[in-house]
């Protein structure tokens, strides 16, 4: 892509290729040259039920919805008539257990930024109300994990620890960062040593909370992804997360689960953290991407005491709520969560086979549902493999330093999984 083709674009280097979104369909993305590719990346994990799903086209052509599409309301002040109903049938219909409220936002970063604010406001209204008699700007902190990714705006970026280039030159908050478990895969073959590594990380996280509280820079909340996605598809056991939830409870910190990339069904449950079996639900769960709208679920106690504390002009985009309501219907009627489980099984087994076949190239096949990944021996080889796969008709994305992440839509069937594995095998074979 030359500068000439795309003069006013901000950065053309990051453009992979231009797409024909009219011609794309289901699991297949079509580029401007007419190449039809199996999409196992789906716009960075953000296409829920494939391209041009008829249910979504129907929403967009329904004359009843036209007023919503052309007149974007300030949802916080002047919501449309059917706003509550759409939230009840849409976002609230898939709310994780324990949540009775949702706040919509325009994107993933805004969702986390505002979730952070809700946590600070909550913390000061409860735990710290005895300490701080004078209102103002407190020196509160959030604990995040090495390798975590929560967005790129300044607040989010203070909790994002993936690539140095993302943070370079940008002022940040001095907040505590705990180590994230570096596990051996497959998880079920290394349970004992993984448990030891997780215990070490949990201990360090708790130590950090205690130390930062002691020095007066209280840890108001802990933010974590169910699988560190951008950071390299790093997993931890469900037990790790249950114990971390216990630590947050013990020290009065909010527990924010960032499901921006993991949410929406690809793990085989609608929310990845539903796999954990928490006794006590999380406090806030943020989302975006496949949910089409950004936002977060919150417990009632995280509702600020006064209006306009969590607010902006648009507070999301009702057009996306209408589309999401249909997406959720499709997921339910077509049993797409079960589909993700079945396709994921084919995929992960295929990845295990490939790493057995190419042990010098591939390692650490891992995943839940279709939310899978595999490591390549080094970054250059990974990048070459991505390119080769694309030339053979499969769109993939990298993550971490040397991983490939697989992020198909929920309509990705066993057939597509087999197809993908065949092409991927051919691409790997060319590497030798």
């Amino acid at each position: 892509v030359s500068e000439h083709l795309c003069p006013p674009l901000q950065s053309v280097v990051q453009v992979n290729f231009f797409c024909d979104y009219e011609e794309s369909k289901g699991n297949y993305l079509v580029d401007v040259d007419g190449n039809r590719m199996l999409d196992v990346y789906t716009q960075i994990a953000s296409i829920p039920i494939g391209y041009n799903h008829p249910a979504l086209t129907k929403v967009m052509t329904d004359p009843k919805n036209m007023g919503t599409f052309v007149n974007r309301p300030a949802l916080g002040m002047m919501p449309p008539e059917q706003f509550s109903e759409k939230l009840v049938n849409g976002l609230m219909a898939v709310a994780p257990k324990g949540f009775s409220r949702v706040q919509t936002m325009a994107c993933g970063s805004c969702s986390n930024e505002n979730a952070y604010k809700a946590i600070f406001i909550w913390y000061r209204s409860g735990v710290l109300s005895f300490f701080f008699q004078v209102p103002g700007c407190p020196d509160l902190t959030l604990l995040s994990f090495m390798g975590g990714f929560h967005g790129r705006t300044l607040g989010c970026l203070a909790t994002t620890h993936t690539k140095a280039i993302q943070k370079l030159d940008v002022p940040s908050f001095d907040w505590p960062i705990a180590p994230f478990p570096q596990l051996r895969y497959p998880l079920d073959q290394f349970e004992r040593e993984n448990a030891r590594e997780e215990a070490r990380c949990l201990e360090e996280a708790e130590d950090l909370i205690v130390k930062w509280n002691q020095k007066g820079r209280h840890v108001a909340g802990v933010v974590i992804e169910p699988i560190q996605a951008e950071g390299g598809d790093n997993h931890a056991s469900f037990d790790f997360y249950r114990k971390l939830r216990g630590i947050t409870k013990k020290h009065g910190c909010a527990f924010l689960v960032d499901e921006v990339q993991t949410g929406g069904g690809s793990t085989g449950k609608f929310w990845a953290h539903e796999h954990w079996g928490l006794d006590d639900p999380a406090d806030i769960v943020s989302f975006s991407k496949k949910m089409l709208t950004g936002g977060y679920y919150q417990k009632d106690s995280f509702q600020p005491d006064k209006p306009f504390r969590i607010f902006n002009t648009w507070l999301g985009d009702h057009t996306k709520n209408l589309l999401l309501t249909e997406v959720i219907k499709v997921i339910k009627t077509e049993n797409l969560l079960d589909q993700a489980k079945r396709s994921g099984k084919v995929m992960l087994e295929g990845l295990y086979d490939l790493q057995d076949k190419y042990p010098h190239l591939l390692s650490k096949a891992r995943g839940i549902g279709t939310f899978c990944a595999i490591d390549v021996k080094d970054e250059d080889t990974r990048n070459l493999l991505l390119l080769k796969a694309r030339n053979k008709g499969v769109v993939l994305g990298g993550c971490g330093t040397q991983s490939i992440r697989f992020r198909p839509a929920l309509v990705f069937t066993e057939h597509h999984a087999h197809l993908f594995l065949d092409i991927f095998n051919d691409a790997i074979a060319e590497l030798k």
Copy 2:
């Protein structure tokens, strides 16, 4: 609005009323009870050419666009075929003089957050490259002004200084804040004393830059609105802004003009800062609201050296770019900038008359184009007046502590201005 009607909404207290966006048309907003109201607030200044404009309905029903509407692309990596063309015919067609690049974002806060990042990256690549040999997270700052509003995410919030409740409990950056001129209105009657006040503020701003630079916390940029909107429609002279631009130039700071609320034509020019007559253009101009998409224009030198430094999944929403392209066509073919000048003249003259008629209630009528405001004697009376106007069929919004801001769409004609003034007069008359 009861909790019952709207269970999953985050804060119901801030809801004014529910609207029927299908029935709303042009300058008239219709609520769910069928009340038809002249809208002089337009969803917090974010409806550019009135409700249900046929040009926009046409875009939304054009089958050619369906692929864009139902498949939201990751614009930074896989833009749609016609992306560049739409930016050239849309955003770039109205770019302020001196700008050859635009970066789209989803909302106003994200636009400023990323503009701030672009400034920090630029500053470290130039001015400070001698000082900092080691890459990392520098202690750079941005200078903002008391009464300024630039958004509510954590980075933006550090530069927002309007209402205390917006910042309460949220950790912030320690960055310099300069006084914004407190002028007497009408500006042309108090030129000499206003010039003195502006000189004082400019001197203090420059002092702050020098002092913060000296203590090693370099001021990478200065952010300011052409009219402080949320903060109370506070104006400064064009000369103030020209001189401020000179100061930023002298000290190597970037000059960021936040046109999120002022941009899009209501001042009678497409960008409010075009009134200033700058010899040297600003470095970055951010926008959102009436532009339908967020984003910012930037000089070439603010383009980061590497990809993925300014990035997120969606980077805006191409649906809004398509709508904006039509909005811009309508503004041009219907000469709506001239319309804003004419309607604004009627409006401001009418406001002068009203403050002469009710000097104990109203003061400081001010404005450029239809971007007008007036002060009411105190906050309670202001709020009562907003309510009375609404009951008589005019939707208005407050700003600052005791101001009313007028933010009609660009299709607001002299006729609507007269109508508004009549109703507003009746509402005021009831206050006595």
